[in-house]
């Protein structure tokens, strides 16, 4: 792959990373609250805009990341390498960030690092690519960041996937923190959030 | 009527102006140049480079000028500047064994291959104030120059290592990339490379006192100055795309290898162990003190009982950084009146309770 094939990153890297991060922080601090992307950067297939935003704002040479097979291609790896310097990590257990289609969620969660008792922060952050946030069913969320409860229904989530997130929540304070990345918005479920599945 | 004091901003501006005036001193005396500081206050410059963790004599000299000669302030200026610098990569490890030597002594052997080289040292000067320097001292007498052929010599300890009398640093430690305390959070227990890094930027005075305490019996390590060498080492960098190293410059460094007695343990026969110290520029006191403390901190690894402060890793490494230490000590100057108010209320409450108690006890006794 040559340099000319590369899509640009953020138009204004400093500003765009700052406003994107604030959106991600806000999403993590208010689980289930769907946040519109403040900026978009060109999206190499098969990624989506929110996942690119997350990658460009958080990855750097210190963060090995993993890609699900469906998302893994030279174009993406080259894109991340050029714009963030982050190394692709083939071993999912060692990844700090993992990007995958939402259909893979249940499978991927099993393998991601959940941190250690003394360093629960050394856990992976999962980025699940979703088609949108207006699906039927979903979950009712409660816990830190949520005043009472919050209903959350990203597209493509299965009972298996929700079960995986429920199990993850039971590991608290260990566990994986999940960002749901959509075409124009994102939301998060950190490990501290409790989930109750709703009937579809 | 009471009006809350305003005008912090004006007060700060004026304080800065007063500071600038004081720094300059009487304008009837010539302004110090950075060149003068670099050339004539070299040891101060070197210490600022070592503890500031940047090899840049001009920058360190400028910091000293700005800091009015306050070492820790100058070190702080250099550190704060350092954090804004982009990092292009890491050099290859410098090879002190091929140092171009200015000074090299061993206290353990009368003579060593390569020779004892006294070099520029205060060691055998008589500490008499030289009043000639107060007047225009003029140019010093020329010394025999070694510049043309700076000698190189193997480390003295390598000569002993062949016999197995001195430990050789573990190969695994040599291979692992060293930690970086400026980029990754510190975690205890620390590995040796990270520990040495902390000590290298640690406060000279603090390490000196701790090293001294080991000599006076607090975790005695029976040290010998195996070798102290001062000179210039080549700095090499290997760009990824090039595939071979290129020399990008030279640095002056001071290195100290202490030899310490070791009784042996269940797994290791009696042999000499090492303590290691290094400093940028010419900094013998720092390198020696560091080597003593390094050896002392190896107590756990060598199966020695930890009894003294110099053997306590968390204690030594959490407190050796003078920029951190001075910040926290001096922050007591900042207003704390909210906390003080809280304590004031508490002390009043407790005094009232005591007085009530005394009154109550008195009343009881009277009844």
């Amino acid at each position: 792959m040559s340099l000319t094939d590369l899509a640009p990153g953020f138009a204004d890297p400093v500003r765009d990373a700052a406003v994107s991060f604030r959106t991600i922080l806000d999403a993590m601090a208010r689980p289930g609250d769907v946040k519109s992307l403040p900026v978009t950067a060109p999206v190499p297939a098969p990624f989506n805009a929110a996942a690119i935003c997350v990658a460009l704002s958080l990855l750097d040479p210190d963060t090995p990341y993993w890609l699900a097979p469906d998302l893994r291609n030279d174009r993406i790896i080259g894109h991340f390498s050029f714009h963030t310097g982050a190394p692709f990590e083939a071993d999912i257990h060692k990844a700090q960030f993992a990007f995958f289609p939402v259909a893979d969620l249940a499978r991927v969660m099993k393998d991601l690092s959940i941190g250690t008792d003394e360093y629960p922060d050394r856990s992976a952050t999962a980025i699940a690519l979703v088609p949108g946030f207006d699906s039927a069913g979903g979950v009712r969320l409660a816990g830190p960041g949520i005043e009472t409860t919050c209903d959350f229904a990203p597209g493509g989530m299965t009972t298996d996937a929700w079960n995986a997130l429920e199990r993850n929540a039971m590991l608290f304070p260990l566990g994986v923190d999940t960002i749901f990345a959509g075409p124009d918005s994102l939301a998060a479920i950190p490990r501290s959030t409790r989930l109750t599945q709703l009937e579809a | 009527m009471y009006v809350a004091v305003k005008g912090g901003e004006r007060a700060i501006d004026n304080a800065h102006r007063l500071l600038a005036e004081d720094r300059r001193g009487k304008t009837s005396t010539p302004d110090l140049t950075v060149d003068q500081i670099r050339e004539q206050m070299k040891l101060a410059v070197d210490r600022v480079m070592t503890e500031g963790s940047v090899y840049d004599p001009d920058l360190a000299a400028l910091a000293l000028k700005q800091a009015r000669g306050d070492m820790i302030e100058a070190i702080f200026l250099v550190r704060a500047y350092r954090t804004t610098l982009a990092r292009f990569g890491s050099s290859l490890p410098v090879e002190t064994g091929s140092m171009k030597i200015d000074r090299r002594i061993s206290a353990a052997f009368k003579d060593v291959p390569g020779g004892q080289i006294l070099g520029p040292t205060f060691d055998y000067t008589h500490r008499l104030i030289d009043f000639k320097l107060a007047a225009d001292g003029g140019d010093p007498e020329e010394a025999i120059s070694m510049d043309d052929a700076m000698p190189q010599a193997r480390h003295v300890l390598d000569l002993l290592a062949g016999e197995g009398l001195v430990e050789t640093p573990e190969a695994s430690q040599d291979q692992a990339p060293p930690g970086d305390i400026t980029r990754t959070p510190v975690e205890f227990p620390m590995d040796r490379s990270t520990r040495l890094q902390s000590l290298a930027r640690g406060d000279e005075g603090f390490l000196l006192a701790l090293g001294y305490s080991t000599q006076r019996g607090y975790a005695r390590t029976h040290p010998f100055a195996g070798e102290i060498r001062v000179g210039r080492v080549a700095v090499e960098f290997q760009p990824e795309e090039l595939g071979f190293p290129i020399q990008i410059g030279e640095m002056e460094m001071t290195e100290c290898n202490m030899i310490n007695q070791f009784q042996g343990s269940k797994t290791v026969p009696p042999q000499f162990t090492r303590g290691y110290g290094i400093a940028l520029g010419h900094g013998e006191r720092k390198a020696m003190a560091m080597a003593l403390v390094d050896r002392s901190l190896r107590a756990g690894e060598l199966g020695e009982e930890r009894t003294a402060p110099s053997q306590d890793e968390e204690f030594v490494l959490s407190h050796c950084d003078n920029v951190q230490a001075t910040g926290f000590v001096e922050h007591l100057k900042l207003p704390h009146y909210v906390d003080f108010q809280s304590e004031l209320n508490l002390v009043r409450k407790m005094r009232r309770q005591v007085e009530d108690g005394i009154a109550f006890a008195g009343k009881e006794a009277a009844e």
Binding site: - | A4, P185, G327, V338
Partner: protein, 294 residues
């Protein structure tokens, strides 16, 4: 807007820190939010202010600041104390953001030792400057030990300490940096805020972030998170109260600073939160000090 050229010709990145440092801190912040009250180690950088002057808070602020933010900086509750002025000026200079003294209008508030009296709202972030982040540090000086205690949720020592207070004094003798339990898991140091402010942390609508620069720790309390001040059933937590209202605005429910007026030791009490006090005075409230002067 990537770089700002300054009067003295120096160029700094937006909000001073380089992008890689910001990213490192941003990642630490996300983990801190995900594990409320847990102290995330981060590779704190040397800042152009001394340790102890708020370098942790400054690094957090610099990493989350966006160009549209409106920044308020307070020290001891006041906007005009020298260190608050200095930090505010720093961000005006290196980030060019708008600043305010109004709690209401700020999107980002950096504080040392106080929480504003006015309840914070959802759009706001409160950044605390923290000197000693470890609530167990004065009971156990070793990081290796305190880390284990947090891991095992072994907090008996803290309760013993508080109970010894009660045995000795009849009440808990901690008045500031009063320990809290966050989300029913981690014991956390609220920074040296007076215990008067502790209840404001509980289920606060704003995101609370804590930065300890010298100790290199970041922690967080997400909005609407339970923050409980440690106490005992027979000795419930209580906050300070004053016998007098604020001399300037008559407020009876704020933290008051004691001001010594003359050599005879005459005292008066005024709100430590200067914005709260001036806002009330503008609304026409008067304290006994004002009435007496008329």
């Amino acid at each position: 807007m990537s770089t700002e050229t300054q009067d003295d010709g120096l160029e700094y990145n937006f909000a001073y820190l380089d992008e890689q440092t910001k990213r490192m801190i941003r990642r630490a912040l996300l983990k801190a939010v995900a594990v409320p009250g847990y102290q995330v180690p981060f590779a704190g950088r040397e800042m152009p202010m001394p340790y102890g002057w708020g370098t942790g808070g400054i690094q957090v602020t610099a990493s989350i600041l966006e160009p549209d933010d409106v920044l308020k900086v307070i020290d001891q509750g006041a906007d005009d104390t020298t260190n608050a002025v200095s930090i505010r000026k720093f961000f005006q200079r290196v980030a060019g953001v708008a600043t305010t003294e109004k709690t209401e209008g700020a999107t980002l508030i950096q504080t040392r030792h106080r929480i504003p009296e006015m309840p914070l709202h959802e759009g706001q972030i409160l950044v605390y400057q923290v000197p000693i982040p470890e609530p167990l540090r004065f009971l156990e000086p070793r990081e290796t030990e305190t880390r284990k205690m947090h891991a095992l949720e072994e907090y008996g020592l803290m309760h013993v300490k508080l109970y010894e207070d009660i045995a000795r004094h009849g009440h808990i003798a901690t008045t500031y940096a009063y320990p809290v339990k966050v989300n029913d898991r981690y014991i956390m140091d609220p920074s040296p805020t007076p215990k008067f402010d502790n209840p404001k942390m509980n289920r606060c609508a704003a995101l609370q972030l804590f930065g300890a620069g010298r100790e290199k720790r970041i922690y967080a309390v997400p909005p609407y998170t339970d923050v409980v001040s440690l106490d005992f059933e027979d000795h419930p937590f209580e906050i300070q109260a004053w016998d007098n209202p604020c001399s300037l605005c008559g407020e009876t429910n704020s933290f008051l600073d004691e001001v010594i007026m003359d050599d005879q030791g005459t005292r008066m009490f005024v709100c430590s939160d200067t914005d709260h006090c001036t806002t009330r005075q503008q609304q026409g409230y008067q304290g006994p000090g004002q009435e007496a002067a008329e």
